[in-house]
């Protein structure tokens, strides 16, 4: 990520210099930094709500139950995660929340899953294959009803605001399949122990 980050910043400064937008650039940097904090703190409420509910579900055995139910699928995707690991339950709840379009529940469940997967991580600070796959899955959209887009279309006066549903589902399925495939196929390009081998820096 270091290289990507430096590249983004350097390209921005170069472009701003060329187009004379230095003031706007500085303002954007400062304002964005503040927005990062506002955004994170804005999550505290929903995060607490869903993590509280998740703990109840854990103690009632519900999380382990959904984890077991989805084991046939998860065991194939996350081969390095032991069968009884608590990460399974959190992963299922995250995916379910994503599919239902419950974005604000998906994030706390997903972070719970990341924390559970981190227990299996021997190289702190570097993502495991399972974590990379899980993040790739979350950076592809798997929701069934794109509620926000449909609402925007409705307010713009579409004849049938939801007529894009089928097309969106097909496109989402393609994106998700590519995310899973790419995460699996590209892992060899990014060896785990931090080493100066070529091709490792872009991560």
């Amino acid at each position: 990520m270091s290289l990507v980050w430096v590249l983004l910043v350097a390209v921005s400064v170069a472009f701003a210099a060329a187009t004379g937008r230095m003031d706007a650039l500085t303002a954007a940097a400062v304002e964005s930094a503040g927005r990062g904090v506002t955004l994170a703190l804005g999550l505290v409420g929903v995060m607490s709500l869903w993590l509280g509910l998740m703990r109840i579900a854990e103690e009632a055995g519900l999380v382990a139950m959904v984890g077991r139910a989805a084991r046939p699928v998860l065991a194939r995707l996350f081969r390095d995660v032991p069968a009884d690991h608590p990460a399974h339950g959190a992963i299922v709840m995250n995916v379910a929340a994503n599919v239902l379009g419950l974005g604000n529940a998906a994030t706390p469940f997903g972070l719970k899953a990341m924390a559970a997967l981190e227990e299996l991580n021997p190289h702190k600070g570097t993502a495991t294959d399972a974590q990379a796959l899980f993040c790739a899955l979350n950076s592809a959209s798997v929701q069934i009803v794109p509620a926000t887009v449909i609402a925007l279309r409705a307010s713009a006066g579409a004849r049938q605001p939801a007529d894009i549903l089928g097309a969106t589902l097909v496109a989402s399925a393609c994106a998700t399949a590519v995310a899973l495939l790419a995460a699996r196929l590209l892992r060899r390009l990014y060896p785990v122990p931090p080493s100066p081998a070529p091709g490792t820096e872009a991560g």
Partner: protein, 178 residues
């Protein structure tokens, strides 16, 4: 019909979970309220833990957008994108989607207003927005929450997924709506 059913599921899911999980737990003899407080306590820590990564990524992306680099790139790749079936008005979506969810919805709003929701571009940006995610934000939050700075294959995989979503959107919208 199917849409209405799916929307009902979405609308009922949260209330059902909020009531269902505690009810099931209390029937199983779980001390529900202390358990909730115990879990909720983590909410603040988790949110605070993602701040550094979120600031880093948002600053870089904010600078990128303010620098005008995206406009430059749009001019540069515009003709190629047009040849691939992405109209000029939909191009900002492709550039902005992995960087900012809010900006992507802004593009959807602009195109719907300028060309109408039932236009080709209107449908295309709608499908694009619905089938992809804000990759940089997701990675910053998820990886940042456990202190990971080397994302490895997650970043290329996430960006390739976005690219696949865009390509599929172009093909499917053309096939379904002509």
């Amino acid at each position: 019909m199917i849409t209405a059913a799916l929307e009902t599921v979405s609308r009922w899911a949260v209330p059902l979970l909020l009531a269902g999980i505690p009810l099931y737990a209390i029937a199983r003899g779980v001390k529900v309220y202390p358990a909730f407080l115990e879990g909720a306590k983590e909410g603040f820590q988790v949110a605070v833990r993602i701040i550094p990564a979120l600031v880093a990524v948002l600053v870089a992306l904010g600078m990128l957008r303010a620098s005008g680099a995206l406009d430059g790139i749009a001019r540069l790749v515009g003709p190629a994108a047009e040849a691939l079936g992405i109209p000029a008005s939909a191009l900002p979506m492709v550039l902005v989607r992995p960087l900012s969810g809010g900006a992507a919805l802004g593009v959807v709003g602009d195109v719907l207003r300028a060309e109408g929701p039932d236009s080709h571009a209107g449908r295309l940006v709608s499908v694009m927005a619905g089938s992809t995610e804000t990759t940089f934000y997701v990675l910053a939050v998820y990886m940042g929450s456990v202190g990971i700075s080397r994302y490895r294959q997650a970043l290329p995989a996430g960006l390739l997924a976005d690219a696949a979503g865009f390509a599929a959107s172009v093909l499917v919208v053309r096939a379904l709506f002509g």
